[in-house]
Amino acid sequence: MRFANKVAIVTGGASGIGETTVRLFAKEGAKVVIADFSERGQELSEQLNGEGYDTLFVKTDVTKEDEVKQMMQATVAKYGKLDILFANAGIAKDAPADKLSLEDWQKTIDINLTGVFLCDKYAIEQMLAQGTGGAIVNCGSIHSHAGKAGVTAYSSAKGGVKLLSQTLGITYAKQGIRVNAVCPGYIDTPLIAGRDEAMNEHLIGLHPMGRLGKPEEVAKAVLFLASEEASFITGTSLLVDGGYTAQ
């Protein structure tokens, strides 16, 4: 197993890409903390523990510094250390700038960018204290690399996540803490649920492969970046986008 004796936190771990990544980490031997603001994380944790895996749900609002701190403390209290963080929690509610309220802008920036910063900050603090290094994977997006009409706050936040990952990657390289971004295209998850057929066709058409990605396909990339196999990879983006940004 690729993650035996490793401790991983997955934020936004109760659904979508986060949930799938939690399951894969657990299957590969990791102890997994599911950090999510949704109580669905508790159900998921109980289910996985019932199957013999070792997981912990910590209800967390990633925009609240004290909650992020407490989540890190709960992780260390239960498992004794932290090896891996997948900072995945995010939302996608957006509009063209002239129709985007400051409130909605702020909410996206708070969750998708500030939330990543806070989780990274306290994970790094813990990893530095351990002196063991560690691996952080931040959830970027194709919109860390390419714009799209009307995608205002989301691309601003995700663009920030990409550069944050590069900067942290360089800053902590000598301490053995690697920081990379996984950058998915449109993935078939609850984040884009509720789309009509026309929107579905539109989104599919954006990907040269002619389909949306699957959560497993992103989760496998996250596992690669989090594993020892990626030990010389830091400050990079791994695009999982069916060719979207290569056009």
Partner: protein, 251 residues
């Protein structure tokens, strides 16, 4: 289950360095490996190591600039193993020279190996893979295909070409089930870095100090990402560039 169980892979430049490490890694993960190299003896040594460990491999002397040799490599692979699942276009040469000292001969020779070789490899394997409705091509670019450096007009041009050819081929074949990605190693501890050290008059230690992680990469570091891109784990990754440089280009 092994990560490349039942897959057939062609690796060019498989006699040394990153190509050799990747051939060994692929074989360990269950692939049948066709190791090609301009130096038949080095390819045979890699194959002997694989076979010694119980793997299935085969060596072919191969000049990647010659189209008829590509036709032969692909035909023999299909004849022998029935298909081609993976191509690692790894063969390449490295010349560091000030712009004004690059001869047209240098230019043509390096371009023939680093660019034409990659083109011919894609040309002769991708239609076969498209018929199979699956395949993965990994092209060896470099951080020199992403950023500039003194003495790198020639090598950088070749690796920049590989980067964008990869994206063009990826888009053209995206609907066929064939994926194409490029890898961009930084300073990896191989003969090429020994050469770079000599040509730039910097010791290997000095080169490593320029890397944020403070060390050179290993050939195993690179073979790990090639394995990921070759395997079905990366089934939604195409036209992408994977950088393995210890943070070098993030600065």
């Amino acid at each position: 289950m092994a990560r490349l169980e039942g897959k057939v892979a062609i690796i060019t430049g498989g006699g040394t360095g990153i190509g050799k490490a990747t051939a060994l890694r692929f074989a360990k993960e269950g692939a049948k490996v066709i190791v090609t190299d301009i130096n038949q003896e080095s390819a045979s040594k890699t194959v002997a190591e694989i076979q010694g460990a119980g793997g299935d491999a085969w060596a072919i002397a191969h000049d990647v600039t010659r189209e008829e040799q590509w036709e032969q490599v692909v035909a023999e692979t299909v004849q022998h193993y029935g298909k081609v699942d993976i191509l690692f276009n790894n063969a390449g040469i490295y010349i560091i020279k000030p712009l004004a000292e690059i001869t047209l001969e240098d230019w043509n020779r390096l371009m023939a190996i680093n660019v034409t070789g990659v083109f011919l490899g894609m040309k002769h394997t991708m239609p076969v893979m498209a018929k199979q409705k699956s395949g993965s091509v990994i092209n060896a670019s470099s951080i020199a295909g992403l950023i500039g450096a003194p003495g790198h007009v020639l090598y950088g041009a070749s690796k920049g070409a590989v980067r964008i050819m990869t994206k063009d081929a990826a888009i053209e074949y995206a609907s066929t089930g064939v994926r194409v990605n490029s890898i961009h190693p930084g300073y990896i501890d191989t003969g090429m870095v020994a050469y770079a050290s000599e040509a730039t008059k910097h010791t290997k230690e000095e080169l490593a100090q320029g890397v944020p992680t403070g060390r050179l990469g290993t050939v195993e570091d690179v073979s790990n990402i090639v394995l990921f891109l070759a395997s079905d784990e990366s089934s939604h990754v195409t036209g992408a560039e994977m950088v393995i440089d210890g943070g070098g280009t993030a600065q």
